[in-house]
Amino acid sequence: MLNYLARRTLVMVVTLAIISALVFIIVNLPEGDYLSSVIAELESQGENVDRQKIQFLREQYGLDQPLWRQYLVWVGGLLQGDLGFSFELDLPVQDVLGDRIFLTIVVNFFSVLFIYIVAFPIGVYSATHQYSWGDYGLTFLGFLGLATPNFLLALILMYAANRFFGTSIGTLMAPEFLDQPMSFAKALSILEHLAAPVIIIGTAGTAGMIRRLRANLLDELYKQYVVTARAKGLAEGKLLVKYPLRMALNPFIADIGNLLPQVVSGSVIVSIVMGLETVGPPLVRALQSQDFFLSGAVLMFVAVLTVIGMFLSDLALAVLDPRIRLTGGAAK
């Protein structure tokens, strides 16, 4: 087990290293040096440029050096908790993101939780009641959930809330808590406001999860060991929980590898549409204005979030499923 853990950790670190290089290349793709264009723009407007400060920033982040040096400086900074400097907002990236990093984790965590809590009973119900009206209705709802893109769902729900209830479902907390330090009242307010975004982000994932759990469980339900157990007189409920459900549960957990990137993707765009206080809105703004330290930090954070989530799910799976082979070498 320890061996497996070590190997899996190594893979994760290498993956993150490659991703960081990829992210750095992508955010540096736009031509031109952001600082020079800012200086030119400020000077053309006749404004005073604080050359000393810009020179300092240039040296601090190695902007006058070749790209690979810049990359090393950037990664070194990341590892020490220095996310870089947002030139557009004239603030360190840490200060721009601040609470947003924590809130992003909260939103994604609750979305995944929502997907599992809702998908599990519904999936089990539609499998055990195959071809019943309940099954058909839920399958249809699932299809609809799968087809409605979440940012459009967000727009529709925001419109409905605004039009019919006169309330706004945007933002993650009541306005008076913005920029306030975390407190019990603020946490409560966040929890209240979480419902709408979590449902919107989770819908597509839930629909997919229901379909997969239903299919997995249906595969198991008619196998011989189930018939045997039933013939021996095991009660239906106990039978279901003891045997086929446990078998169908493994893919359910393994699937987090597909689910997590999807949820994180969804949370970014839904946050932008609904104006949530997550890393989504700064990402768009930074990408538009080529504020590459900010966009790079957000992209890196989002990638780290998924990679670590998948790492944890792999570990959970290894603990839960004795059939997972912990030694290397794939069977050919």
Partner: protein, 384 residues
């Protein structure tokens, strides 16, 4: 020679099918090609067929957009900003007049400073069919002004209302289909080629090639798609012309999408390359490209087409999302996502809900592709 030992010899000519004579129907079934059987199977899937028809109609409309749309893409009715949709009526005060719309009156509400429109029940504006209207260049080449339907002379025809600048929403949705629907097709073609080539190399050669491709796929799949798409499309140079941006976006969509297909190709090839017919082909001196293209690919082409159909909606949605966020296509190129930019302002949407109408075709197309893809996937293995 005694009679008992003589063999019976029939004088009839030998007919090998004597016992298992096939009826015409059976013969048709047994001799049918794989693709024919898939078609039969698909036909049984009602929802898939219906979706296919819907999609065919939509794609056909893309060819003759200029003719179908009552207004030209950039035509503005400056006097009718944010005008509400006009319903089509047939009866005016109990008399049948044929399809017509009522005129719109507008007043400026001085308290809210909003234009307010009211339906003028006295002004009947009969629609004209197969008529001359806004001039346009068909496919940007041939000058013409022939339309399926036009507003009455001096009248208006806003089936889905107008936007902030007085563009007719219905016409713009028709024009938007041209971009939104083709983005998916071009994108999937690129991603299909990438997937087959890369997955084919990995599956056929195995070893370090396979290992490398596997790692790349794993890394790409562990990244959330949308932020990656956003970052890549933000990197498209701002001085590119809209057409270049369009192709840039399709390329970006394909670059992030191919791993799924490549994975499917690889796993199938790994299994198939051990088959006897592959060995036979190799021994007869076929080159890898011929073995893959001629002997291996046709075995699972149908599966690939099914999964490609299922990934088209993802691309259409991605383009819509990117344009909606202002990172994708830019006006004057008009896609459904570009149209939805107007719906970002929730106050505007509450006042003018018809700004959200470009959502409807998006959802219809995504649903239709999903149903069709599901049907194709079931039909992909007709020998089951």
């Amino acid at each position: 020679m005694s009679d008992g030992n003589r063999h019976f010899v029939s004088s009839e000519p030998f007919n090998p099918q004597q016992i298992e004579a096939l009826t015409a129907e059976q013969e048709k079934y047994f001799l049918a090609s794989q693709w024919k059987m898939m078609w039969w199977r698909l036909k049984r899937h009602r929802l898939a067929v219906a979706s296919g028809i819907v999609l065919a109609i939509m794609y056909f409309s893309v060819v003759i957009t200029e003719f179908l749309a009552p207004y030209e893409l950039s035509a503005r009715s400056e006097d009718f900003l944010h005008a509400p949709p006009q319903g089509i009526h047939f009866f005016h005060e109990g008399d049948f007049v044929g399809p017509f719309v009522y005129g719109l009156d507008q007043t400026l509400n001085l308290e809210t400073l909003q234009r307010e429109y009211s339906v003028n029940r006295d002004e009947v504006q009969p629609l004209r069919f197969f008529c001359s209207g806004d001039p346009y260049r068909f496919w940007g080449m041939v000058e013409a002004d022939f339309h399926l339907v036009c507003p009455a002379e001096g009248g208006t025809l806003f089936l889905l209302g107008t936007d902030r600048l007085g563009h007719d929403m219905w016409s713009r949705i028709l024009y938007g289909a041209r971009i939104s629907l083709t983005v998916g097709l071009i994108g999937i073609t690129l991603s299909f080629i990438l997937g087959i080539v890369i997955g084919g190399l990995a599956g056929y050669f195995g070893g370090w090639v396979d290992n490398l491709v596997q790692r790349v796929i794993e890394i790409l799949r562990s990244l959330p798609e949308l932020p990656l798409w956003m970052a890549l499309s933000a990197a498209l140079p701002a001085r590119w012309s809209p057409i270049l941006v369009y192709f840039g976006i399709t390329l970006i969509l394909a670059l992030v999408d191919w791993p799924g297909l490549a994975r499917a190709v690889r796993s199938k090839l790994l299994a198939l390359r051990e088959e006897d017919f592959t060995t036979a082909a190799t021994l007869m001196g076929a080159k890898p490209s011929r073995v893959i293209g001629r002997h291996l690919l046709p075995n699972f082409m149908s599966h690939l087409i099914a999964s490609a159909t299922l990934s088209i909606p993802t691309m259409i949605l991605a383009e819509t999302a990117l344009s909606f966020l202002g990172l994708g296509l830019r006006p004057p190129i008009t896609s459904w996502g570009v149209l939805l930019i107007e719906a970002q302002n929730i106050e505007a949407v509450t006042l003018f809900p018809w700004l959200m109408t470009p959502m409807v075709p998006v959802i219809i197309v995504v649903l239709a592709f999903n149903f069709l893809g599901d049907g194709l996937r079931d039909a992909a293995d007709p020998y089951k």
